[in-house]
């Protein structure tokens, strides 16, 4: 057997490699993320729409629920381009509905609710999913029970149950927490409790693989207790699948909330959300299509942006793709 070294070309003396500045992992991820064009656009739009609903009401200081019968059924300003006869006033740049409520203010206020529901429900789902996934992956004793439970919840008909839950607990929660907070809590909890299963499955799989790695064995051999093992060694390493499923969860929560509102089982009617505004405007859509189009576009573009961010994150967080 020949020595493999002899077949190799003569080793050149080590060149002076310029020492690169140590780059953090997050900077690498950001660099990879930026190469995904759709993800960058998505992030840009998400920031824009967040600012629109967060800061918008401070600039466009109109109460979204205030009725103004004298200025009802106004058209948006751009209808003047093809129809100079259109009813229009600069007080309502995007028009007003059948009770004279301002469409622009409605979009901002509705967006606040939709985004708040989306983020909170997503965080709830991710926390529950991560907790169950880590527990099932890390502790062998409860793995079987927790995963059977996850499978069981996965085979429940979720949308019908969500509708039933909305109907059942609506009055109780409304009485306890007031109409708006009560419904908010109900929607967030209902969506959160019906969408944690995928996260739990993915996290469990990753934790199971991580447990076999040497660094976990090393940490165990110096006597790290399970609690610190999870927080120091397991959780940071399953962060990337959690982040990806968080973006999917956000998109899912926004769609579910607007679907519930659309089916008439969401927020009360004087409390605008994008889905609710869309639902209320459908009966007027032949004369006033803009009232349907704007909230619909807001939902669609936000969800599209979030999905693109998820796509980009998945590529950026995957070390096999990153750096190619």
């Amino acid at each position: 057997m020949t020595d493999p070294m002899t077949n190799m070309p003569a080793m050149s003396p080590p060149r002076a490699v310029p020492i690169e500045k140590a780059r953090s992992q997050w900077r690498d991820i950001w660099a990879q993320f930026r190469t995904h064009k759709g993800a960058v656009w998505g992030l840009g739009f998400l920031i824009f729409i967040t600012l629109f609903v967060a800061i918008g009401p401070l600039i466009w200081d109109v109460d979204a629920t205030k009725t103004d019968i004298r200025n009802k059924n106004m058209r948006p300003f751009y209808t003047l381009l093809w129809d100079s006869e259109a009813r229009f006033t600069w007080v309502k740049p995007l028009g007003s509905d059948n009770l004279g409520r301002d469409v622009l203010a409605n979009l901002m206020q509705g967006g606040r609710t939709s985004m708040a529901v989306g983020w909170t429900a997503m965080i709830l789902a991710v926390v529950v999913g991560t907790l169950i996934g880590v527990l099932a992956g890390f502790f062998k004793r409860i793995d079987g029970a927790l995963m059977r439970f996850t499978d069981l919840v996965l085979s429940l008909p979720l949308l019908p149950l969500l509708l039933v839950m909305m109907l059942l607990f609506r009055d109780t929660l409304r009485a306890t927490f007031g109409p708006e907070t009560g419904i908010f809590i109900l929607i967030v909890v209902a969506i959160g409790l019906t969408s944690w299963m995928q996260t739990a499955r993915i996290v469990r799989g990753d934790v199971l693989a991580l447990k076999e790695r040497e660094f976990v064995l090393a940490a165990r051999s110096i006597g790290t207790p399970s609690r610190r093992m999870i927080s120091r060694h397991i959780l940071p390493n399953v962060l990337s699948p959690i982040m990806v499923s968080a973006t999917l969860g956000l998109a899912n929560a926004i769609i579910t909330e607007s679907a519930l509102s659309f089916l008439g089982l969401g927020f009360p009617s004087d409390f605008p959300t994008w889905g609710k505004t869309l639902f209320d405007s459908i009966q007027y859509m032949e004369e006033y299509p803009e009232r349907v189009i704007w909230p619909g576009l807001c939902i669609s573009f936000t969800v599209l942006a979030v999905n693109y961010i998820g796509d980009g994150l998945r590529d950026a967080l995957d070390p096999r793709i990153r750096g190619q």
């Binding site: 085979s155 429940l156 109780t172 349907v292 939902i299």
Partner: protein, 335 residues
């Protein structure tokens, strides 16, 4: 394989019973009173009698057992009676709707064809669109076609179906007047004209659901094709001198279809769930719309039956997907 299927079938029974229990207990909490719409002049003792007549006086476990008995024994008996003219049921009590006071399954039977037509067609159309798109996208990865396909499928599952539906109504029935915006259930297909009318009223709901389904399935198809195109056996097939058509459509496609078929099977119950929203948009009075009106009207037996039927669909198609996987992929051995 057969033992595995039988074992899974037997295991599905406790799962279904448990799901039924969860739904039942959830509905037990319902605050609404089915007698709320009765006149206030009814004396309290008569009202109590009426409650008992509806079966509300019993303990919950008796009502639960009764529901299971009616669902699994009595209703199939009635179904067999209706088909073969036998008399198995012998006038046994059926599941009665609180709202219409008629058997729940009669109403479901009336509503089923609309849902099956729209949902079934949309799923078939969705799959038929998705497969070629997925195959071509994978074969010509990063081409214009692939990028366009990615964009459209991204839009397809990001835009909620109720918005797609509303936009289609705005464009095609309000502005252009091509399709009706409301589904007419009374329409009977008897001749060519009524067939065309049926096709026209089905076009938009089917398209909305098909776009949503196709965008998901085409992603799976593309990913699965890409996985297989890089395999060694593809190089071997090409080296043997097979034409590109045979390599792609015979070798690669057959292997890529294995996971895709299970995804298609798993998607069927979800489509029924998603149809709830689409039926509401286009006013199709199918099962989804029945569920919504039942929920709003506190019609507990109807909600229970429908939700449980959805649950059975999910469990059944999970089972079918697992078994299909074992049948199609000889590498998977369950025994």
């Amino acid at each position: 394989m057969l033992t595995y299927s039988i074992r899974r079938l037997i295991l599905a029974i406790p799962t279904l019973l448990f799901i039924a229990l969860i739904i039942f207990l959830l509905l037990l909490l319902a605050p609404g009173d089915p007698l709320a719409n009765m006149p206030l002049t009814i004396p309290p003792e008569v009202r109590e009698k009426m409650r008992e007549a509806l079966g509300l006086g019993e303990a919950w476990y008796i009502r639960f057992g009764l529901f299971l008995w009616q669902f699994f024994i009595v209703e199939p008996q009635y179904m067999i009676d209706a088909m073969f003219g036998t008399d198995l049921a012998d006038g046994a009590q059926r599941i009665i709707s609180f709202q219409s006071r008629s058997p729940v399954f009669d109403t479901i039977g009336e509503r089923m064809p609309q849902t099956l037509w729209v949902v079934g067609m949309s799923y078939v159309v969705g799959v038929l669109i998705a497969l070629p798109i997925g195959i071509i996208s994978a074969y010509k990865q990063y081409s214009i076609f692939d990028q366009l396909g990615t964009l459209i499928s991204m839009i397809g599952f990001s835009v909620p179906t109720f918005f797609t539906g509303v936009v289609l109504i705005l464009v095609f029935s309000v502005n252009l007047g091509w399709f009706p915006s409301i589904y007419d259930t009374q329409l009977r297909v008897t001749d060519w004209d009524s067939f065309v009318a049926q096709m026209r009223q089905m076009a938009m709901p089917v398209f909305v659901l098909a776009l949503f389904n196709a965008s998901q399935i085409s992603r799976y198809m593309r990913a699965s094709m890409l996985d297989n195109l890089g395999q060694d056996y593809v190089r071997t097939a090409r080296a043997k001198g097979m034409t590109e058509k045979v390599v792609v459509l015979k070798h690669v496609l057959r292997n890529s279809m294995i996971p895709v078929i299970t995804v298609i099977a798993l998607g069927v119950p979800q489509v029924f769930g998603g149809a709830i929203i689409t039926e509401q948009v286009f006013k199709v009075n199918g099962l989804g719309q029945l569920l919504i009106t039942a929920i709003q009207g506190n019609d507990i037996p109807m909600v229970m039956t429908l939700t449980f039927m959805f649950a059975i669909l999910i469990v059944l198609f999970n089972l079918i997907a697992d078994i299909l996987y074992g049948v199609l992929d000889p590498r998977i051995r369950y025994d």
